[in-house]
Amino acid sequence: MGIKIALAGNPNCGKTTLFNDLTGSAQYVGNWPGVTVEKKEGRLKGDRDVVIQDLPGIYSLSPYTLEEVVSRNYLVEEKPDVILNIVDGTNIERNLYLTTQLLEIGLPVVMAVNMMDLVKKNGDKIDMKKLANELGVKIVEISALKGQGTQDAVKACLDAAKTGKTTELPHVFNGSVEHAIAHIEESIEDKVDPENLRWYAIKIFERDEKALENVELSDELKEHLEGHIVDCEKEMDDDAESIITNQRYNYIQDLVSGAVKKKAKKGDMTISDKIDQIVTNRWLALPIFALIMWAVYYISVTTIGDWLTGWTNDVLFGDWITNGVTGWLESINCADWITSLIVDGIIGGVGTVLGFVPQMVLLFLLLSILEDSGYMARVAFIMDRVFRRFGLSGKSFIPMLIGTGCGVPAIMAARTIENEKDRRMTIILSTFLPCGAKTEIIAMITLCFFPGSKFIAPGMYFLGIAIVILGGIALKKARYFAGDPAPFVMELPAYHIPSVKGVLIHTWERAKAFMIKAGTIIFAMCVVLWLLMHFNFRLEYLGEDLESSMLRYIGEVFAWIFVPLGFGTWKGAVASISAEIAKEQATATLGMLAHAASDGETDVANAIRGMFGSGLVGMSFLLFNIFDAPCLVAIATAFREQGSRKWGWITLAFQMGVGYCLALCVYQLGMLFTQGVFGFWTLVAIVICIAVLYFVFRKTPDYGRLSDEPQGANA
């Protein structure tokens, strides 16, 4: 029979790094708290009978956020065979708070003190023997990042699971508190599992409603126990939950003072502190952030990335593969339409998407370095200052950071936000920062219309942030979202030089996903679009005559929607609508149309320029496709995470509205200023601009006294 090991610990203590090391998985590891929001299962390398559960990081077993609920429910209700408690050795005092709670659950616990390499490097000493004796658990020293000691930790877990012995509980509580808990234990011992007795007793003392739901207590008994709790509260002059918290910290303080010796004196500044004095400085933080992100996008999209992509697009796919495949198909007398399907459809579409892989790889590599070094966690802290002024919390920026990779995990990451209003707003806004797939559209439009531009790609990132801020301000003034932002407390990880292995794995995983997508959904879409593009409704092959194709007629049904945006042609409509399946599809569709339109002398970029006519139309197309709703999967995730159809539709409408209005205003006002064209839609654009300014700058209406208390999703 299999053994289940649950990895539990504080956020950002290295659980997922250990999980990846033990299972050989490549789960996303971020150097900030709250990356894992759902439990993940894997099997131990070398022993498939051992199942390892990676749980979201939690500070305590009192669930305040959704991911804390996931961890607690799993540990208490599903009961793994053993808990492997990962403790950050550089911050042991805070981590032990959870450890004392895990011990009370009544399951075998093994403690793995992680980041021991850093502890030793800092010159700190931890007396493991003393800690183990005091806590009554087996302790193993590990460095999950370097894979040191991890097998010892697994062996200790397997031994603990096989013996099934629970640990002797440390004496965390004393005096009347211990007396009251012992009394509760006596009263409920026939109502809960014996191993969970202590845990339930403490939770009942804390008046934890979730735990109380699981224990059937008569009203009489409830009243009796409440009497004991109230007596204790009177004696200690505090509320029950605070009493438990204080006694836990007192116990941990005593324990740590005897077992941990820190080399640095209190108040000494670490290297991270010194870097933070500059990087998170009140005045310098934002310019440094802007400079770094500008450099990331400039390098990956405009300079080195552009050279690499130029080669893959023009030489690899544009010349070698296209001409090689065409020549081979012609030499074997392959049917013309199959040659066109392969060359114009598959190579033209999938090849265009793959052509931008070098830029994506470079972008992912640079972002991974920033994440792994610990800088991106600071960005959330820096943005908290900005966001707070507008009623949002820095916690909302963490999903947006994740969103630069993909919108789906970004939306999921909003689960870490306990305030329902802020969570809903974060889901609405989190996909405005361009994801990897959207970056490809940016790269393509930059390449076609603004080659060598230093500002288009970074500009789209900063425009995304601006939309988040302006959207946040406008939404916060609506009745539903009104209220102060929730406090944001975030533990900043120490800076460190990113591990080459970690960064490369992270980059490879993202790039691999990108390529798999090109070979599956983009491939399938390209085949379907090619068929629609080259056949009429009588299913006759049209050759290069796209104007009689089914796709043209389908595109024209929707083309009117995009007329005010400047690309109201069937080609622009098809490219924009197909992008809703997957954002890369916009580039694939444009690539296919360009291939079909090119006469062999015109290159793809020229053909796309010809399709849109001017840079202004290209920019309008770019803005719409970057800032409208994300892809279908992300939309479905937003519906699910919003928890209601109504809020799903609100999210979709807001995102579509932003993309459409932005593209409309830029195109119409651009036409007004560059060519003096003034029409009905120019007027609409001006009205939209005035409306946006009104909603952003209007005084927050007085909605009466609003509760600042966060609300649950069901509240």
Partner: protein, 64 residues
């Protein structure tokens, strides 16, 4: 159409069917690069379906 054209067409149809089947089974996994909760471990196809996380927190249990 000659024999080789039919052969290439057959290969394309197989590739298309495989691409559609793969997308149906792993669509969301690959979209997020294996980062989202539904991709957790991905040891079986069932894991690829993101489980609905019913918000369970009541007002009284939350702390600001």
């Amino acid at each position: 159409m000659n024999f080789i054209s039919y052969l290439i067409l057959a290969v394309l149809i197989v590739c298309f069917v495989l691409a559609v089947r793969y997308t149906r089974k792993h669509g969301s996994c690959e979209t997020c690069g294996g980062n989202c909760a539904g991709c957790g471990g991905c040891s079986s196809a069932a894991d690829c379906q993101v489980q609905q996380q019913k918000p369970q927190i009541k007002k009284t249990e939350m702390k600001s």
